[in-house]
């Protein structure tokens, strides 16, 4: 085994390995499979509790990952937001000067979670423009237009 604290570089290496095998399409195919098979916890919480389920899911994972973040659930306006000030995964990859991270590492978050939440009727937006600073912003809305 490797420690779970050593996983993120191995994850990035997996994306590079898959791209060597068959281009970015192979990486995306893996992300799609991982989302379908591995994110049942988020899928069940969001289906049962709506945006409160999203809040519950990320409260647990981001705390265990020791992230620097602000998470907000506006129940009145049905908006869930994560302001990620320092992503622990991306941050660790940036700190490791001996490792070249997968070139679009942060895109896995977009695909994995979008693929869970959009079929459940949520509107999903993520701003990855500050990935180079290990920062991003996720906004999920209940997809009911007035």
């Amino acid at each position: 085994m490797i420690s779970c604290t050593e996983f993120i570089p191995a994850y990035s290496e997996l994306f590079k390995f898959l791209e060597q095998k068959g281009g970015k399409a192979e990486v995306i195919r893996f992300w799609e499979n991982l989302s379908d098979a591995f994110l049942n916890n988020l899928r069940e919480l969001a289906a049962q509790k709506g945006l409160a389920g999203c809040f519950e899911y990320w409260s647990h994972t981001l705390s265990e990952e020791a992230a620097d973040f602000k998470m907000m659930l506006d129940e009145e306006n049905q908006v869930f937001t994560i302001e990620m000030r320092k992503c622990p995964s991306r941050g660790r990859l940036l700190e490791r000067k001996d490792i070249e991270p997968y070139h679009v590492y942060c895109e896995h978050c977009d695909l994995l979670y979008r693929r869970v939440l959009e079929p459940l009727g949520f509107e999903y937006n993520i701003d990855l423009s500050n990935c180079d600073k290990a920062a991003c912003k996720l906004v999920v809305r209940t997809n009911v237009r007035k």
Partner: protein
């Protein structure tokens, strides 16, 4: 409005569900590309992600590996006996913390998960002039890992 705000220093970095993600990756690689590809990937991880450990192992010897693995088993609440004598490090694992976590949470588990240990250890040792073995019983999370210097290593 519910708000949760945390700094990195508020929590310990220990997200054990990552073991499940790696387990899933091994299953995926096995089924999509075959077991040889899985071994190639894990060896790539060993060579590329553990360069600092490899460099230290070259310089200071097996005490570095003993310290590295003791740290992991302590952090993740695993159980193992360590013996470093006669230029050989032996680690008898009676409770693999990764497998224990996967089992206790009902997460995906494949016996092939233990190839992580086999292939990553192999790649680290190859790169540093050492050899190793790993005899494992995957289900219960037990194994015996041995490390020693290559006879022809400088």
């Amino acid at each position: 409005m519910r708000i949760l705000e945390r700094k990195a220093s508020d929590n310990q970095y220990l997200h054990k569900d990552f073991h499940g993600a790696l387990c899933y990756a091994i299953k995926y690689l096995d089924e999509t590309y075959g077991q040889e590809a899985t071994s190639q990937y894990l060896q790539q991880v060993g060579r590329e992600n553990f360069k600092p450990l490899i460099d230290e192992l070259k310089q200071k010897g097996l005490i570095v590996l003993e310290r590295h693995f003791k740290s992991i088993f302590g952090l993740e609440s695993g159980e193992a006996k360590f013996k470093l004598e006669n230029d050989q490090l032996t680690i008898e694992v009676s409770k693999c913390p990764a497998i224990a976590h996967l089992r206790s949470n009902g997460q995906l588990f494949t016996d092939r998960y233990c190839q992580t240990t086999v292939n990553i250890n192999q790649a680290i040792c190859d790169s540093a002039g050492y050899e190793c073995s790993c005899d494992y019983i995957a289900g219960p999370g037990k194994c015996v890992q041995k490390f020693w210097k290559k006879e022809n290593a400088k």
